[in-house]
Amino acid sequence: MSKLKNITEITEEARQEAEREGRRDFLFRLAGLTIGGVFVNILGSGLLRGEAEGADDVTPTPASGRQGQVTNLPPKGYNWEDHLYAYLIDTTKCIGCGMCVRACKNENDVPDGFYRTWIEEYLIATNDHGDFDVQVFSPNGGLFGFQASQSPLAVSKGFFVPKMCNHCDNTPCTQVCPVGASYQTKDGVVLVDKEQCIGCGYCIQACPYGSRFLDPVSHTASKCTWCYHRITRGLRPACVAACPTGTRVFGDLKRTDDPVLVALSKTRVQVLQPNLLTKPRCYYVGLDLEVR
């Protein structure tokens, strides 16, 4: 009570003086903390640089003692600066056999009911007003192929659209990751670090293409990697290798004779949802108005 009494007794001038004094102290303390924080950050990152040997080696090699289950190391001398991968899907060639979905599942142990790549069947009929009636089917993501459709529409046109992660250059999914588990490699592939992922699901919501899912086994985000373990060995992604019609083409834009690069320069290509400015590196040929 006495304190309160004292305060009320202080004159207006004195109170202002005291406030100014307090603010000055506060500002000094703030400056001190800021400088301290910067110092700590520099120290911290300096320590990290010191620890990580071979930081200038361009070929990614596991740090010693942290290899764990790694059995067969990828070919040495792979330089990710020499590649920029891209993917082309010619929907006019797709027969909807679903071999790609099956190969993906076999190659990557994709859990049942989840798909890193899937096929959508579009059946479209023109109605009386010149509008379109559209039905889209994707039974089990196309894993078991497609059966004769029970659609009531008098189908005037139909086509299959294979979908997967677009490996965007301007990725919404990696930007929202709070723990740095999702990232983009220098050769243009978006990957998820299972060890770092906490399974919060922000990236799954951020992806406008629905390409990510929460793995029910590991409880981490999972998605298409363009079979990173295959493409860095010079193999094609499993889906591309399985495609019997040449719908799926995999390429490296840093090669001059690349099939995707040739297609990009010679034919009219589209990307999914270009309005979102995500800059996908997965290009489509023969998309229709209804495909998002």
Binding site: A181, D193, A238
Partner: protein, 176 residues
């Protein structure tokens, strides 16, 4: 000088906080984090180290080059071996045959690509299985074509029938 005591206390607290921060930072952040960006750089090598399971045609070619050549000569030239057979990793271990290769020989598997669907490109060969079987004279009951022997007329590596007449003369699909 009796008023400097609290400054020393704050100083000690700040030093403790800084030490704690540095300690936990080093402890919590993985070693390779931040080398190339805000992610664990080791993960790139971990992703690369996963063992491929599909060998593609070059894997099959090592031992079965005559079968591959046969396939390449016919209309199934672009069909991957591992589509109807199984991934190479189920057959080969350390470049040696370890297990028998499985193969899917059901009519259901043929129909997966060759069933008539309105969404398929018109240039792709497609059939209505019931209609097709009636046309070539194969007796088949119902719409279950899992046991249909497409192989009676079509050799999958080179599926064009050798003689259209023998195909049309009639084969009992249920006889084995």
């Amino acid at each position: 000088m009796e008023h400097t005591k609290h400054i020393w206390r704050v100083g000690i607290l700040v030093i403790v906080a800084i030490t704690g921060f540095v300690f936990f930072r080093v402890l919590l952040i993985p070693p390779s984090y931040g080398i190339r960006g805000s992610y664990r750089y080791d993960n790139v090598a971990e992703q690369m180290a996963i063992e491929p399971r599909h060998g593609e045609v070059r894997g099959c070619n090592e031992c079965h080059d005559e079968r591959v050549d046969e396939l390449r000569a016919g209309p199934h030239e672009n069909v991957a071996c591992e589509n109807c057979h199984a991934p190479l990793s189920t057959h080969v271990k350390d470049d040696e045959k370890e297990w028998d290769m499985s193969v899917n020989k059901t009519g259901e598997w043929c129909v997966r690509c060759h069933l008539f669907l309105p969404a398929r490109p018109k240039s792709h060969p497609q059939i209505d299985p019931v209609e097709h079987l009636v046309k070539v004279g194969v007796k088949q009951v119902g719409r279950d074509w899992s046991d249909v022997v497409c192989f009676k007329c079509h050799e999958p590596h080179d599926p064009t029938p050798e003689d259209e007449d023998t195909v049309a003369s009639g084969i009992d699909g249920n006889a084995k």
